[in-house]
């Protein structure tokens, strides 16, 4: 069973006076209960555009996002429909996602469904704070009285208030220090396991995604180039871009080597290369790459690269 289904989603941004930028080009992705799906890729590859569509913050220009079988309707200024309240998002910057002028407890209550009233409602505050490892006394304090890591935990408590079944976390620990990173990551993973939630975990930190994700999807210039169970993806990356990303992560060792450099720059999505989008930077590019590669299923994963299409199909 899948909880969140992203089905053929396209996202276009239309800057004034310029050509439309196709930020996301036909992405399929699904998240099951109790599953962490990691989404990695370089900045500008469309990760955040996809996250915003997946959470229903912006409409896709084509395709559909379904939560628990029903299409997610983009929010605009309206409140989230009751049947979609289980889809929540945690943002990168906890300084911006909490209201600086309201006490923490009050903000947490915003997320508690209206039919929970009276003492049950008031009791939610200490429960939520305890879930994220914060003291009940935090309820009467304001966001500026907390450190970055604590604030991110409060933002997570806010996302947990409506008892979500899927959380979309867009770079949730990027702004934090190493030790608070570990605290917040452990918290998120613990919540997913314990509450059987699904999580789409978006990050440019491959090592971190390797550590926690069950499935990893790799995105390049708006397309998913490879998806596989995390262990398989790291042990046997099928796409040259996945390989390049893994090789670029600096590792600790007694006999260190410099990470491998990938040639070239990420092209401007407004004029992406025809055919395989990675071909201009790919060390293995050959003539077939002038054509867009099909996505082929390999074991539990899938990859879009001509190197993995066994027999060249003629005609």
């Amino acid at each position: 069973m899948t909880l969140l289904e992203i089905d053929g989603v396209h996202v276009e941004h239309k800057p004034r006076g310029r050509d439309a930028v196709r930020a996301v080009v036909g992405v399929d992705l699904s998240v099951a209960p109790g599953q962490i799906v990691g989404l990695v890729g370089e900045s500008g590859c469309g990760k955040s555009s996809l996250a915003r569509v997946a959470a229903g913050l912006t409409p896709p220009s084509a395709g559909e996002v379904r939560y628990a079988g029903r299409p997610v309707t983009p929010l605009g200024w309206r409140r989230r429909a009751a049947d979609q309240i289980g889809l929540q998002m945690v943002f990168q910057n906890p300084y911006a996602s909490l209201n600086p002028r309201r006490a923490v407890g009050e903000q947490l209550l915003d997320g508690v469904p209206a039919d929970v009233t009276g003492a049950a409602r008031r009791n939610r505050i200490p429960e939520l704070l305890e879930r994220v490892g914060m003291p009940a006394s935090a309820a009467t304090r304001y966001p500026h009285q907390f450190s970055g890591g604590q604030r991110q935990r409060l933002a997570i408590a806010r996302a947990l208030a409506p008892q979500p079944r899927v959380i979309i976390a867009d770079e949730p620990v990027t702004a934090l220090d190493a030790s608070s990173q570990a605290q917040v990551v452990n918290l998120l993973v613990g919540l997913v396991r314990e509450l059987e939630m699904g999580m789409l975990f978006i990050s440019h930190d491959l090592a971190l995604v390797h550590e926690i994700a069950d499935v990893t999807a790799v995105m390049y210039l708006g397309k998913i180039v490879e998806t596989a169970p995390t262990r398989q993806l790291w042990a046997e990356p099928r796409h040259p871009y996945t390989r390049a990303l893994i090789d670029a992560v600096p590792r600790i060792s007694a006999t260190p080597t410099l990470p491998t450099t990938l040639a070239g720059e990420v092209p401007d999505p407004a004029n992406a290369p025809a055919g395989c989008r990675f071909a201009p930077r790919c060390p293995h590019a050959f003539d077939r790459c002038a054509e867009a590669p099909p996505t082929v299923q390999i074991g539990a994963g899938s990859v879009a690269c001509w190197l993995n299409v066994p027999q060249p199909v003629h005609q």
């Binding site: 220090d177 608070s180 993973v189 440019h204 390049a244 600096p250 600790i252 410099l258």
Partner: protein, 325 residues
């Protein structure tokens, strides 16, 4: 000892609302000619203040004791003229945010050639040639065209390469890089680490690389210092320091990072947070968060002592930790 940069028992206090706030305590650190030295620790541990002291960028009212010598010249009592000679041509700096280091309204060419004309006294034509050469060295595509472009026309990674080219323009002997790759993608980071290593090999550039990423520390640097709460708690050859840490804080930092486990949240967070300056606990500043803590940790600040070849650590229980390992 002829280290290029020789910091000796440096202490810095910044003015606070209730009197001077001690930020750095007794920091000694050297960077040799052509050496890549790493400086690691969490935010607020004094890494950047050390860099600012060496560049004379401390805020007014700061009190500084100890010594910081660059190529034999004492930096702590330099006047304006003296700093002008040291900055740029002696010591240059690269910051985390390249957009803050580059002037948004001047072309890249203008920003690169200005230093050269001031510090190297070359004419416009020669400066332009050298600017193109520098941009080529940092592997910026199409350097000639880049000279007429403005910083906003580049991506973050390219801007950081322009900032590095600009820092190198006046041929400094020491480059201080303060988290220069933290905001960048791993692929771009790999390029910049490769660039710094190549410059060191080819031109003998010395680099002090400040980072909180221990993977970067390992890949790039030969020798490292780990800072905690304004002190050096451990130093030594990077490989040995990261594979066999002698200070519990270094070990805890290593435990808090992903190391390729599987879906079970195997990160080991360090409990609590670093102390604020002016609120240091008595004795070892790491003791409240240390899993090996015992009574004598809280009585006196442990001194940095020899701990193996070319290594030092400031921990009273170190011998026992080693015996247990």
């Amino acid at each position: 000892m002829g280290a290029l940069l020789d910091i000796d028992r440096l202490a810095v206090a910044l003015p606070g609302p209730r009197g001077p706030l001690p930020i750095l305590h007794d920091v000694s650190l050297t960077v040799g000619e052509g050496e890549l030295v790493g400086i690691a620790g969490e935010s607020g541990c004094g890494k950047s203040i050390t860099a600012q002291t060496v560049l004379g960028l401390l805020p007014p009212g700061a009190t500084v004791t100890g010594s910081a010598r660059f190529d034999g010249t004492e930096l702590l009592n330099l006047d304006r003229k003296g700093w002008q000679r040291v900055r740029g041509a002696g010591i240059a700096m690269v910051f985390q945010d390249p957009s803050a280091a580059l002037h948004p309204m001047l072309t890249v060419g203008r920003q690169l050639t200005e230093h050269m004309r001031v510090h190297l006294g070359v004419d416009r034509k020669a400066a332009k040639r050298r600017a193109i050469d520098l941009l080529d060295q940092v592997r910026l595509p199409d350097p000639e065209r880049a000279l007429d472009a403005y910083p906003h026309q580049f991506s973050g990674g390219m801007r950081q390469r322009v900032a590095i080219a600009s820092a190198l323009a006046a041929q400094p002997r020491l480059l201080i890089a303060d988290e220069p790759t933290t905001a960048l993608d791993v692929t771009v980071q790999a390029g910049i680490l490769g660039l710094l290593d190549r410059l060191r090999r080819e031109t003998g550039l010395a680099v002090a690389f400040i980072t909180h990423d221990l993977g970067v520390l390992s890949a790039l640097t030969a020798r490292s210092y780990v800072f905690y709460a304004g002190r050096v708690v451990e130093n030594g050859p990077t490989g040995a320091l990261l594979t066999e840490p002698r200070h519990p804080y270094t070990a805890a930092l290593l435990g808090a990072r992903p190391h390729g486990g599987q879906s079970t949240a195997t990160l080991t967070p360090i409990p609590g947070g670093p102390p604020a300056p002016g609120e240091l606990p008595p004795g070892c500043a790491f003791s409240p968060r240390c899993t090996h803590v015992r009574d004598d940790c809280r009585t006196a600040v442990p001194p940095l002592l020899q701990a193996g070849p070319a290594r030092e650590t400031a921990c009273v229980i170190r011998p026992e930790l080693e015996a247990a390992a």
